[in-house]
């Protein structure tokens, strides 16, 4: 049976393209995991400037976190499907292709940030030794 290309130009071009896109997408996301994953990493408010999150709507219980971005392929190798209780998920490893840990920035995030206790001690010390305040507020982003 002869198919008139001009008559069916729309479906003859569109259908194979959609199939190709499905295959590419499948391999990119499902097989190679070629994308960035963002999640909340463990953060110690005593040491770092953490984001403050609420456990419930009334915000009766708070928790502290950092924002971590990792390449999904690497993260999967390090932790499997679940990042909770995975030590490697909270740090950037030398083999990670893309990894960043974002700490809270008071200038940007304001009240969402916790000020570390030792930071307050340092602040007191800084005042005493006349150290610039900008050191306390600097961005703590770590990029590898």
């Amino acid at each position: 049976m002869k198919i008139n290309f001009r008559e069916h130009i729309f479906s003859l071009i569109l259908t194979p393209l959609i199939i190709i896109i499905c295959v590419i997408s499948y391999f990119r996301f499902m097989v190679y995991r070629d994308y960035i994953v963002e999640y909340e990493g463990v953060c110690d408010p005593l040491v770092d400037k953490c984001f403050i999150g609420c456990e419930d709507d009334a915000c009766t219980t708070e928790y502290y976190y950092t924002l971590i971005q990792k390449y999904a392929h690497d993260l999967y190798k390090e932790c499997g499907n679940d990042v909770t209780d995975c030590e490697e998920a909270n740090i950037c490893l030398p083999d990670d292709r893309e990894c960043s840990i974002v700490y809270c920035d008071v200038e940007v995030d304001g009240a969402l940030c916790s000020i570390p206790t030792n930071g307050l001690d340092n602040l007191q010390n800084d005042i005493n030794v006349d150290v610039g305040e900008e050191d306390l507020l600097q961005d703590n982003d770590i990029d590898i």
Binding site: R6, I9, F10, I21, I24, S25, R28, F29, V37, V83
Partner: protein
């Protein structure tokens, strides 16, 4: 990677972490779209318009399925895979809606150039869909990828929705101006349906995402309301199918209604939690299916009978036309034969063929009388037929009705005397001028008086005239055989002859009183008959308007 803050869905699509509205908006809309799309496609696969509607319903269903997956699932790999098609699906809906409207309005396929242009519009969505220019990452804490969508890509496919709305609107206005009235109604219905669908679908989707992105809303719940647009669109499509047979489908309104209700009730199974409600819904669903089945069956039977009747009516009309031409042919032939023999008998009587003896003269006179009677009968039938068809043109003039009555009486005096009857006039002094056709009203008087003479064996005939303000009442009262209650029903009907009338007058055609009725009614008058109170006989009344 799984979204660790959310729980795994049950049966792939059911999760307690999503708004209940999600299922209520998505499932009925999808089922209705799929049902209508598939029904239209199945009943007219060969029509491009049907195929395009099916494609739109498939893309819409893919969209609802993908949003259901994105709302309920927690596996980032799979969600990224599904999310990557969002733009392509939305863009395809826009382009196919434009394509669909072109075919609906012009009733033919678009040019190859335009189809290539459609592909060109879709190409950025096709080529960038699996790349980082569409999606680059996923937030497993929030379980979405809003912050990793490339803004120009997102704007592009949202813009395609707006372009589709404007493009279709321009097409609608253009075609509405040049189309015939009947098609204009279809344009309005289809236009309203598709524009409402595009507006609610793309508008809600755009605003939901935009407001979520700028932090005004916590999630994009607003987009759920956009799904109602498809239900509206499919309702308009159903109206077009039922009323205008669009898509070349014969569908009864009852069928559409029953199936629509069944889908709505059936889709409730997906979002009912309480077992008792589930049971009640199951009973309602089963009842609506069973009752709907019988309802459709009986309506179909009725429709079939109606169609058969309509067909029979058409056949009957054809037969009537054939009969009419046959009657005309026969009557003209018969009248021609009567006329020819009439002139022969007349020639014999006036000596054209030489001297004849008394016996031949008597026989020739009988032949002439018989021919005259035959010609009168044929004329009666022909006149009745012409009057019934409306082929007679009345010349309405002011004339004295009483004079015409007097003229008929004088013409009938001989035959009245010959039967030994007495003819009395009962005319009240007044002006009997009226507006009408004197020739045909004389025929009325002639007919009624002729009937009275024929059906009265002995006694008298009274012809009367009365006037009251703007009405003239003419009547003929006789002491004839009268009319039975059964025969009264057939009076004034076409070919209506009473049993007694046939016995008394074998030449009765049944067209005399029928003609009288047609002529009187054409003069906006009334004709009726009453049996005499004082004994045998009857009275025929004719009431005419003066002006």
């Amino acid at each position: 990677m799984i979204c660790y803050l959310f729980s795994e869905p049950i049966y792939f699509l059911f999760s307690s972490d999503v708004p209940a509205l999600l299922y209520y908006t998505h499932i009925p809309a999808t089922l209705i779209a799929l049902f209508v799309g598939f029904y239209v496609f199945w009943n007219g696969k060969q029509f491009l318009l049907n195929r395009l509607l099916f494609v739109i319903s498939i893309f819409f269903s893919l969209w609802t399925l993908s949003t259901l997956i994105l709302w309920t699932n927690i596996h980032s790999d799979f969600m990224m895979f599904v999310w990557s098609f969002s733009g392509l699906i939305l863009g395809s809906i826009s382009i196919f809606c434009i394509y669909f409207m072109y075919v609906f309005l012009s009733k033919k396929d678009v040019s190859v150039r335009l189809r290539l242009f459609f592909l060109t519009l879709l190409s950025p969505l096709l080529f960038f869909a699996p790349t980082s220019l569409n999606l680059s990452g996923f937030n497993i804490a929030d379980c979405d990828a809003f912050n990793f969508e490339w803004l120009p890509f997102r704007i592009y496919y949202s813009l395609l929705g707006a372009v589709a709305m404007i493009w279709i609107f321009i097409l609608l206005v253009k075609w509405y101006r040049i189309s015939e009235f009947a098609f204009k109604k279809q344009i309005v219905l289809m236009g309203a349906g598709i524009e409402l669908f595009l507006f609610s679908f793309f508008g809600m989707e755009f605003f939901a995402t935009y407001f979520t992105k700028i932090g005004l809303f916590q999630d994009s719940e607003l987009e759920l309301y956009g799904m109602f647009g498809m239900v509206i669109f499919m309702t308009y499509i159903s109206i077009l199918v039922v009323r205008f047979k669009t898509f070349n489908i014969k569908l009864l309104a009852t069928e559409a209604l029953v199936w629509g209700l069944a889908i709505l009730i059936g889709s409730q199974f997906f979002f009912i939690d309480v077992p008792l409600n589930m049971l009640l819904n199951a009973i309602t669903f089963a009842s609506s299916i069973i009752l709907g089945y019988f309802l459709i069956k009986s309506v179909k039977k009725e429709v079939k009978q109606r169609e058969e009747l309509a067909e029979l009516n058409l056949e009957l009309n054809d037969l009537l036309k054939q009969r009419e031409s046959l009657v005309h042919l026969v009557t003209h032939k018969v009248k021609g034969s009567f006329t020819r023999s009439k002139y022969i008998f007349a020639g014999i009587l006036d000596g054209t063929f030489g001297d004849i003896n008394e016996e031949v003269k008597r026989r020739a006179q009988q032949g002439l009388d018989s021919d005259n009677g035959g010609i009168d009968t044929v004329d009666l039938v022909l006149n009745a037929d012409n009057l019934q068809k409306g082929a007679v043109k009345y010349e309405m003039k002011d004339f004295n009705f009483k004079e015409e009555v007097e003229r008929v009486i004088s013409e009938k005096e001989l035959s009245v005397e010959a039967k030994g009857l007495k003819l009395e006039k009962n005319f009240k002094e007044d002006n009997y001028n009226l507006l009408g056709d004197s020739f045909w009203l004389k025929e009325v008087v002639n007919n009624l008086l002729e009937n009275s003479i024929k059906y009265t064996k002995e006694g008298k005939i009274i012809v009367g005239l009365n006037k009251s303000e703007d009405k003239i009442l003419f009547y003929v009262k006789d002491t004839g055989i009268g009319i039975t209650e059964e025969d009264k029903k057939n009076l004034f009907t076409e070919g209506g002859r009473g049993k007694d009338s046939v016995r008394v007058n074998v030449d009765s055609t049944g067209y005399g009183l029928f003609s009288v009725k047609l002529i009187v009614e054409a003069h906006k008058g009334k004709v009726w008959m009453e049996s005499n109170k004082e004994g045998s006989g009857s009275t025929f009344f004719v009431e005419l308007n003066v002006a």
